[in-house]
């Protein structure tokens, strides 16, 4: 058992170091602006005096490492500085939007995870049947389509031609949960379709890989019924790959969410990121990128830790 904790601790430490380096990259990228931040914001026509004043205001007269440490300290305590576009604190803009994005991602995940694991196991059990082949083509199509294609098709069929759900998912504070769920149904469904396809294929591959192992054949040969082979022999060992698949795809959701939010004008952090990239509002861009990247890294970390913890060989060392 001690070994496992050692491995997990090592992995967590590595994750922390990765986070730090990524934060340096995100901060350093803005430092690579031609000229500097003040010049980039004010443009070519600004007088040297205004640029100098802006530099003072942004604290650009201090060396980059000092500013990085300040920024990092702020980011850890939830203070991302002030936006260049509207002079409001970045955290104030990001906070509610991040909650909205998490809500959307969680909504999609709650539907997608059980669905895709169930379908993946079925496809693995009945592989090369009609079901498996249809699923193969359908999931491949869904993976290959850009998220906005899936989104707009859903809008066309479920919002315009058959007005069942709203095509624009604007949220307000005083909505009940049921209203929110109805409003966000189409973006969530888009994410579900894309993620389910990925997750189902990966689950199928993991289970098929497992079903080829000698101990499964042994169980079959001694006459264990098919469902018992799955529940008692395959599943205990399948948890590790399945948890890995789930976490990886939740991480994938993070990127998918940006395009989907733009399609449905959903007030999430992805939309904010795209808007601030267009407006060149760097503090907001940095903060959103940091949040996206950390979520991505943490989910990948969870995938690894989950795989370590559910690995029977590591839990019961000889």
């Amino acid at each position: 058992m001690k070994d496992v904790f050692g491995i997990v601790a090592k992995r967590l430490g590595l994750g922390l170091v990765t986070l730090l380096i990524v934060s340096i990259i995100i901060f350093g990228a803005v430092e690579m602006l031609p000229g500097d931040l003040a010049q980039a914001v004010l443009g070519q026509s600004a007088t040297p005096e205004t640029v100098e004043a802006m530099r003072k205001e942004l604290g650009l007269d201090r060396p980059a490492p000092v500013r990085y440490l300040d920024w990092l300290k702020g980011a850890v305590t939830g203070d991302f500085g002030t936006s260049l576009a509207n002079k409001r604190p970045v955290a104030e803009q990001i906070g509610p939007r991040f909650a909205n994005t998490l809500f959307l991602a969680a909504y999609a995940a709650v539907i997608a995870v059980p669905l895709s694991i169930g379908l993946g196991i079925m496809a693995a059990l009945y592989r090369n049947s009609v079901f498996d082949r249809v699923a193969n083509v359908a999931t491949l199509t869904s993976i290959s389509s850009p998220e906005f294609f899936v989104g707009y098709i859903l809008v066309l069929f479920l919002a315009v031609l058959n007005p069942l759900f709203p095509s624009i998912s604007s949220l307000s504070e005083d909505m009940t949960l049921a209203q929110k769920l109805e409003r966000t149904f189409l973006p969530a469904l888009t994410l579900v379709l894309v993620v389910t396809a990925h997750m189902m294929r990966m689950t199928r591959a993991a289970i098929i890989n497992l079903l080829a192992s000698p101990y499964i054949e042994m169980a079959r040969l001694k006459g264990v019924p098919n469902w018992r082979v799955i529940t008692h022999h395959a599943l205990p060992n399948a948890w590790a790959p399945v948890i890995n698949v789930v976490a990886l795809n939740l991480a994938y959701l993070i990127t998918g969410v940006v395009l989907v939010e733009v399609v449905f004008v959903y007030p999430g952090i992805g939309q904010l990121l795209v808007d601030s990239v267009t407006a060149r509002d760097f503090p907001v861009v940095q903060a959103s990128c940091l949040i996206f990247a950390s979520t991505f890294i943490i989910l990948n970390l969870l995938a690894d830790v989950g795989a370590i913890l559910t690995n029977p060989r590591l839990r019961h060392p000889k």
Binding site: I143, S144, P146, Y152, T255, V263, V277, F296
Partner: protein
Amino acid sequence: MNYFIIGYYAMLIGASCVAAYFKNRQAFLLIFTLTLVSFVMGLIGGESVLWSVTVAAGLIAASAGIAYSFREFLIIILPKQGAKTMRTAPLTASFGLFVVIIYVIAAVFAPVIAPFGQAEVVGTSFAPPDDKMLLGADQLGRDMFSRIIYGARNTMGLSLMTTAIAYLMGCVLGMLAAVRGGWLDQFLGRLVDVIMSIPSLIFALLLLSIFGTQLYILVLVIAFIYTPYVFRLSRAVAGNIVVMDYIEAARLRGEGTWHLITREVLPNAMAPLVAEFGLRFCFVFLLVAGLSFLGLGIQPPTADWGSMVRENATLISFGEITPLIPAAAIALLTVSINFIVDWMLYLSAGLKD
């Protein structure tokens, strides 16, 4: 109850009876499930849902037909070796080949095929289709059809160039790391881990917000983001090769690193790298399309499928499918490439045992 609905169910039930009579269990299950699903969907969505199902079934049947005839065509015109391979190809793969060839023709001969230029204003904005403009006009009155044809050239060309650069850098670095080993290998490996730990779309947005959205910057940024994936693959493939005896022999002969990479490692690493090229191209293509959709990729007035979807998206709320055509063009290409890659992977796996 009109003739269409009666005909629809009669067809389905008849087909499932035929399938059951000929003891084709799987076809029966498929058709009968479709019948049951249609009952439910028809009750909820009315006749239009059934029409959609019919159209979808017709499209699938048509593409299967095209795929079948194209495979037969290839079997006849190809020399013996190629014909032999094609004979075992699944329908999905020949469909993929067909689509890719059509796209390449559209891209190469764009100025000949397209009736108008890509930035040429020829009608009023959102003009409906007529015999001059096959698909109508876009938001500025440019011909949609011409723009889609030019889009094939711009979007595919850009993605191809980007993938090629990413491949060049990734392969050279990956094989260098594998051949040299030591601290270089360690350093590049860790660097790649860090770059890959940032989601690619987010990283692209960050870099584009800083360096601007000129075309060459777009190419370099995306190539930089995808280099680590190629590096990983080529490092893994080359890693298995450098432990071989013939590499040892070449080293003892005193060959340099460059000779080892190009003459000894590369020829043996070709097969998986080529198969992966298709997949990487798809990812790059989707990323370019996504960025253009967000307004940060290929800049107007250059025709590009991603930005065309965004520009004409308002039409969707009037029930028009025009904005979906460029999006469908993206999806069709990536699906087709995936079909081909699937088949190639199956072939290379099948040949081994």
